[in-house]
């Protein structure tokens, strides 16, 4: 077994300079040798980039699993006027609300919380807390009324339930939000 310390100059090894010199030389040599591999490494990187393409079969399998699990999500329990209970998937309500917010120029929905005010009893209505991102430079007061009306209308027209309380939360300001292709 080689022992580097056995070959040290006592004067140098005393203050560790010899070790540092050897380490430096080894590091320099390593860096030079590694740099010489750059052509091979670049070939490897290029091949890797070329092979990084989407696998449609894999994507389909992932989405099938997510879709099955999403269908088992929570439901919101409501009552008709005749006091018959029914449930509606919270995800379905959230999707309607997201679409209503996204349809407003400069807004993008983020989170939608849905619940029923148990004390209201009857209820064909849900309470909502909706957070969204807004394009920088817009004024909340300029669209708040329209947004509330749109959400209430979409809720009624899409899933036949009314809007109780609605809390709007501006979560973020973004550059250029709303420049995307709108679903309307």
């Amino acid at each position: 077994m080689s022992d580097r310390s056995s070959r040290r100059d006592p004067d140098l090894s005393a203050d560790g300079e010899f070790d540092e010199l050897i380490d430096e030389l080894v590091e320099t040599q390593l860096a030079e040798n590694y740099d010489r591999l750059e052509g091979i490494l670049e070939d490897y990187r290029s091949a890797a980039r070329e092979s990084d393409q989407a696998s449609h079969g894999l994507r389909r399998r992932i989405m099938e699993i997510a879709e099955i699990e999403a269908a088992r999500g929570p439901t919101v329990r409501l009552r008709t006027r005749s006091r018959q209970e029914f449930g509606i998937a919270a995800a379905a309500v959230r999707a309607v609300i997201r679409d209503a917010v996204d349809a407003m120029d400069g807004l993008v929905a983020r989170r939608v919380s849905v619940w029923v005010d148990a004390e209201a009893g009857s209820s064909r209505a849900v309470d909502l807390r909706v957070s969204f991102a807004m394009r920088r430079g817009m004024a909340l007061a300029g669209f708040e009324h329209d947004l509330r009306q749109r959400i209430a209308r979409e809720l009624e027209e899409s899933v036949g339930i009314g809007l109780g309380r609605l809390e709007l939360v501006l979560e973020d300001l973004e550059e250029g939000t709303g420049e995307h292709d709108r679903r309307g």
């Binding site: 590694y34 591999l37 990084d52 989407a54 079969g57 992932i62 879709e67 699990e69 995800a91």
Partner: protein
């Protein structure tokens, strides 16, 4: 059936918004995240595992875990780091399970003449003996070294980003990459 988001409104949304929407159960936003990260995640798994079907399994596990656990991600802005952490863990787990089935290990210094485990997509794309030998050298590195090296050299992550992904200090990342380079230089002797 959900409406596919491909090329639609969600495709232009930022990660933070998509993550918030997925946390609310939005499949279209999840599909966009899958489209956005699946090629990189599968690529990392493929290079770590060098087995296309195992790589797809690891990538599938990564995204299904993400779907199930996304609500636990408190900082949506860290999604990218988080998804690569899930992928890294999936790969390391698979490699450990493989190792448990094996009785012998290889020394990175004894790599001359090492042959790869079969054709990979990299081999199909680049028929280079040197690249094949490099793949074999990488395959013989300890998995933690290989992972840090791949994240740095192929994916272009910074030391800090790798530290976040692997949940280790930046100094440890530098150490792993340095040791990987040392082993690569030894394993590639005569190929430069």
């Amino acid at each position: 059936m959900y409406e596919s988001a491909r090329g639609g409104f969600e495709a232009a949304l930022d990660d933070v918004t998509l993550v918030c929407r997925v946390q609310d159960g939005d499949l279209r936003s999840f599909e966009v995240l899958v489209d956005r990260y699946e090629p990189q995640v599968t690529g990392l798994c493929r290079r770590m595992l060098r087995d296309p079907s195992e790589a797809e399994d690891a990538a599938q596990e990564t995204f299904t875990t993400a779907w199930r656990r996304l609500e636990t991600l408190n900082e949506p802005a860290t999604f990218r780091t988080w998804i690569f952490r899930l992928a890294s863990n999936a790969c390391i787990d698979l490699i450990r399970r493989r190792a448990a089935r094996r009785t012998t290990t290889r020394d990175p210094e004894e790599l001359s003449g090492l042959v790869g485990r079969g054709p990979t997509l990299e081999q199909q794309a680049e028929d280079s003996a040197a690249v094949r030998h490099l793949e074999a050298v990488l395959d013989a590195l300890p998995p933690e070294q290989r992972l840090a090296w791949l994240l740095y050299e192929v994916q272009g992550e910074s030391y800090a980003e790798i530290g976040d992904i692997l949940q280790i200090s930046e100094g440890s990342v530098r150490g792993r990459i340095h040791r990987a380079r040392t082993n690569i230089v030894r394993g590639m002797e005569g190929w430069a």
